[in-house]
C-alpha cells in the first residue's frame, strides 16, 4: 500500500496541451502512472503522447473513469480548473501552480470539501508512491520504493530529504505546498501514513510560518504509533520577511523555527538538523 495514489489511480492532466502539461504527462506516463486522459477546451479529440484529449473534465471523466487530476494551467486559471475537477467528481486534484490568490483557495476548498474532493497544493510538487505512480513534477530517479512516508511543505527540499532515506526507501512522498491556505495538511497526511501498513516511519519536513507543524505534533503525541522524524527549514530566517513561499513568513512572533522544534520535541518527534542525519536515525529506529 501507499497513500493518496497508487498503481490504480487514473489520472487526468488538465492543461495537457501546454508546454509543462505535455512534458509532465509524458514523464508521469513513463513512470508507469495511469495517465488516462488530458483536458484542454477546444482540443478534444486530439492526443498528446498517445493520451486522449477532451474538451472538459466531465467528458474526460466519463470516458476514462479517471479519479484524479493534476493541473498545469497558470495560477490565474488554476482555481477554475479545481472547480471543474471537483464538479467532474474527481477524488484527488493536484495543483502545481504557484501564485493562486489565497481567498480563491478559501472558496474553492470549501467547494471541493462539499463534493468530497481532496486538493493537494497549490504551489506543490505533487505526490509520488515510488514504483507505483507519480502525480507530480518530481524527478523520478531521486525516489525509491520503501517504507518511509515523507510529507513536506517544500519541493526540492523534499527531494533532498527523500534521497536521504537511504536503503529504507519511501512508501509515498507528498509535497503539500508552500502557500498559507492549502488543501491537504500535515495532519491529513500523518493520519493516512499512520494507517498505511507499508509505511514504517514518517518524516515531516516543515518550515517557518503558520502552525501546521505544531498541530501535527500534537496529533502525533496523542495518536501516532510509528516513529516520526521532524525537520524545520528557516531557522535563520528573519521575522516579517517572506522566504519565497507565501506561507513561509514569521508574523508577530508565531511560526518561528524554535516554536516548531519545541513542539516536535514535546511530541516525541525526533528532530533532524541535517538531511544526512536521516539514514542513521532511521536505522536506529527501524
Amino acid at each position: 500500500m501507499s497513500i493518496l495514489i497508487d498503481e490504480k489511480t487514473r489520472v487526468l492532466v488538465q492543461g495537457i496541451t501546454g508546454r509543462d502539461g505535455a512534458f509532465h504527462a509524458q514523464a508521469m506516463k513513463s513512470y508507469g502512472t495511469q495517465v488516462v486522459g488530458g483536458v484542454t477546451p477546444g482540443k478534444g479529440g486530439q492526443s498528446v503522447e498517445g493520451i486522449p484529449v477532451f474538451d472538459s473534465v466531465a467528458e474526460a471523466a466519463r470516458a476514462t473513469g479517471a479519479d484524479a487530476s493534476i493541473i498545469f494551467v497558470p495560477a490565474a486559471f488554476a482555481t477554475d480548473a479545481m472547480y471543474e475537477a471537483a464538479d467532474g467528481g474527481l477524488k484527488l486534484v493536484v495543483c502545481v501552480a504557484e501564485g493562486v490568490p489565497t481567498l480563491d483557495m478559501v472558496r474553492v476548498l470549501e467547494y471541493c470539501r462539499g463534493r468530497g474532493t481532496r486538493v493537494l497544493g497549490p504551489n506543490c510538487p505533487g505526490a509520488i508512491s515510488p514504483g507505483k505512480a507519480k502525480v507530480g513534477i518530481m524527478p523520478a530517479a531521486s525516489f525509491a520504493r520503501g517504507c518511509v512516508g515523507v510529507v513536506s511543505r517544500s519541493g526540492t527540499l523534499t527531494y533532498e530529504i527523500a534521497a536521504n532515506t537511504g536503503d529504507f526507501g519511501q512508501s509515498t512522498v507528498i509535497g503539500i505546498g508552500g502557500d498559507p491556505v492549502i488543501g491537504t495538511s500535515f495532519l491529513d497526511c500523518l493520519e493516512l501514513f499512520n494507517a498505511d501498513p507499508e509505511t514504517r516511519a514518517i518524516v515531516l519536513v516543515g518550515e517557518i510560518g503558520g502552525t501546521d507543524e505544531e498541530r501535527a505534533a500534537d496529533w502525533v503525541k496523542r495518536n501516532c504509533r510509528k516513529p516520526v522524524f521532524g525537520f524545520i527549514a528557516g531557522q535563520t530566517a528573519p521575522p516579517g520577511k517572506r522566504m519565497g513561499h507565501a506561507g513561509a513568513i514569521i508574523s508577530g512572533g508565531t511560526g518561528t523555527a524554535p516554536e516548531k522544534i519545541a513542539a516536535f520535541e514535546a511530541a516525541g518527534i525526533e528532530v533532524i538538523y541535517e538531511p544526512q542525519e536521516l539514514p542513521g536515525r532511521l536505522a536506529a529506529k527501524l
Partner: protein, 380 residues
C-alpha cells in the same frame, strides 16, 4: 504587500469606516497648514512600513500651532528600522474613552477568514493572543455567506459588555472591514486601536491593510498603492527576473532552487559556523539568464566572501545552472570562490561543464556548505 497607514485610511474612508480628520504631509510647512485646518492639539505620525514607530519616536502629540513645524521636522527624514520617513500624517486628537482591537486574517488551519476583536486595543494582537487569549473574541467567516450580521453583532456584544447600540455600530464597521478584505484580496486588515470616543461613537484611529501578493494581478488599485521607495532595490530587481531574493547580514552568498531547500541551506551554513548573506530561490524552470542575474545581485553585496550554489534538479536542469554560472563568471569579475553542488536532473552534463573551471565541486549539501563556510573565512 503592505501599504501606509494613510493609504489604509483612504480605503477605510471610501468604505464608510469612520476615521479621524487627518492629512498626509511631506514637509513641515504642509504639516503646519494641516494642523491649522484641523485644530490643535494634533498628533503627527511617521508613515513607515514597519511596526514600532511609536517607540522609535515617530509619533508626537503637539499642543501648540507654533510647535508643529519643529515636531514635524524631527519626524520627517527620521530613520526607523532602516526606513526613511518621507511622509507623516497630521491627525486630530480624538477624545478617547477606550481602545479596542479588530482585525481580519485568513486562518490557515480553518482555511477561512476570521474576524478577531479584543478589548485590549493598542497592543499587538499576537501579544494579547500569547498572554491573555481569553480576551480575544473570534468568529470564523463562511466565505460563501460573508461576515453575517449576527456575527458582527455578537462579537460587538462581547466587546462592549452587552451594549446593543455599540454592538450594532461595531457590526457595521466589521461588515465594511470584511467587504474591503474580500473585495480587495487582503491578507490582513486591522484597526488597532479602534476607539470609543467620549460621545459613544467608534473611530478607526490606526489602520493596517496588507494585500495578497498573489492577487495583485487583478487589483491594479492595490498595485498603485505600492511605495517603491520603501523597497530594497535588489529585491525588486530579483523579483522582476523571476527570482526570490532577501538580503541578510552574513558573508556566504547562496543560490538555491526552491524556497525550502534555500532556507535549509541557510540553516546549514549557520550550523557549520557560517552566516548566510542572503536567501535566494532561482525558482522552477531556471534559464541560464536567471543564473547570471542571481550572481550579479549576490555579488553586489560587498560582505559576500564565498558563493554556494546548491541545486537539486527537478524541473530545473543542472546543466542550465552550470551554463548560467559560467556565463556569469565570464560577464562579471567574480572575485570570490564559488562552491557548486548540482544533483538531480542533468547533473552529469553539469559536472562535465564545470570540470576544469575554478568552481569547487561538492557531492552533498553538507560537503558544499562546509567548503563554502571555510572559503568565506569561517564564521568570522
Amino acid at each position: 504587500m503592505k501599504v501606509h497607514e494613510y493609504q489604509a485610511k483612504e480605503i477605510f474612508e471610501q468604505a464608510g469606516i469612520p476615521v479621524p480628520r487627518e492629512v498626509v504631509c511631506a514637509t513641515p510647512a504642509e504639516c503646519a497648514a494641516a494642523a491649522r485646518a484641523i485644530g490643535l492639539p494634533v498628533v503627527i505620525k511617521a508613515q513607515v512600513l514597519v511596526g514600532g514607530r511609536g517607540k522609535a519616536g515617530g509619533v508626537k502629540r503637539v499642543e501648540k500651532q507654533e510647535q508643529v513645524e519643529a515636531a514635524a521636522g524631527q519626524i520627517l527624514g527620521m530613520d526607523i528600522k532602516g526606513l526613511r520617513v518621507e511622509k507623516v500624517l497630521v491627525a486630530e486628537c480624538a477624545d478617547i474613552a477606550k481602545e479596542y482591537y479588530v482585525g481580519i486574517i485568513v486562518d490557515r488551519v480553518g482555511r477561512k477568514p476570521v474576524l478577531m476583536a479584543s478589548a485590549a486595543g493598542g497592543v499587538e494582537i499576537e501579544q494579547v493572543a500569547r498572554e491573555t487569549p481569553e480576551k480575544i473574541v473570534k468568529v470564523e467567516i463562511d466565505p460563501a455567506a460573508g461576515l453575517l450580521g449576527f456575527q458582527g453583532r455578537n462579537v460587538g456584544m462581547a466587546l462592549f459588555d452587552g451594549d446593543a447600540k455599540l454592538a450594532r455600530s461595531f457590526a457595521g464597521i466589521a461588515a465594511r472591514l470584511y467587504r474591503v478584505f474580500a473585495s480587495r484580496d487582503c491578507s490582513l486588515i486591522e484597526i488597532n486601536p479602534l476607539v470609543r470616543l467620549g460621545d459613544g461613537s467608534l473611530l478607526a484611529l490606526d489602520a493596517k491593510v496588507n494585500f495578497d501578493d498573489n492577487a495583485l494581478f487583478r487589483h491594479p488599485d492595490n498595485e498603485a498603492m505600492r511605495d517603491r521607495a520603501a523597497e530594497e532595490p535588489k529585491e525588486v530587481e530579483a523579483k522582476e527576473a523571476g527570482l526570490s531574493y532577501i538580503k541578510l547580514e552574513g558573508n556566504v552568498g547562496c543560490v538555491v532552487n526552491g524556497a525550502g531547500l534555500a532556507m535549509a541551506t541557510m540553516d546549514l551554513i549557520k550550523r557549520y559556523g557560517g552566516e548566510p548573506a542572503n536567501f535566494l530561490d532561482v525558482g522552477g524552470s531556471s534559464s541560464p539568464d536567471k543564473m547570471v542575474t542571481a550572481m550579479r545581485i549576490i555579488l553586489s553585496d560587498p560582505n559576500v566572501k564565498a558563493i554556494l550554489v546548491n541545486i537539486f534538479g527537478g524541473i530545473t536542469r543542472c546543466d542550465d545552472i552550470a551554463t548560467g554560472l559560467l556565463a556569469a563568471k565570464k560577464q562579471a569579475d567574480i572575485r570570490v570562490p564559488v562552491v557548486a553542488r548540482l544533483t538531480g536532473t542533468n547533473a552529469e552534463p553539469a559536472r562535465a561543464l564545470l570540470e576544469g573551471t575554478d568552481v569547487t565541486p561538492a557531492a552533498t549539501m553538507a560537503e558544499a556548505v562546509k567548503k563554502a563556510v571555510e572559503l568565506a573565512g569561517g564564521g568570522k
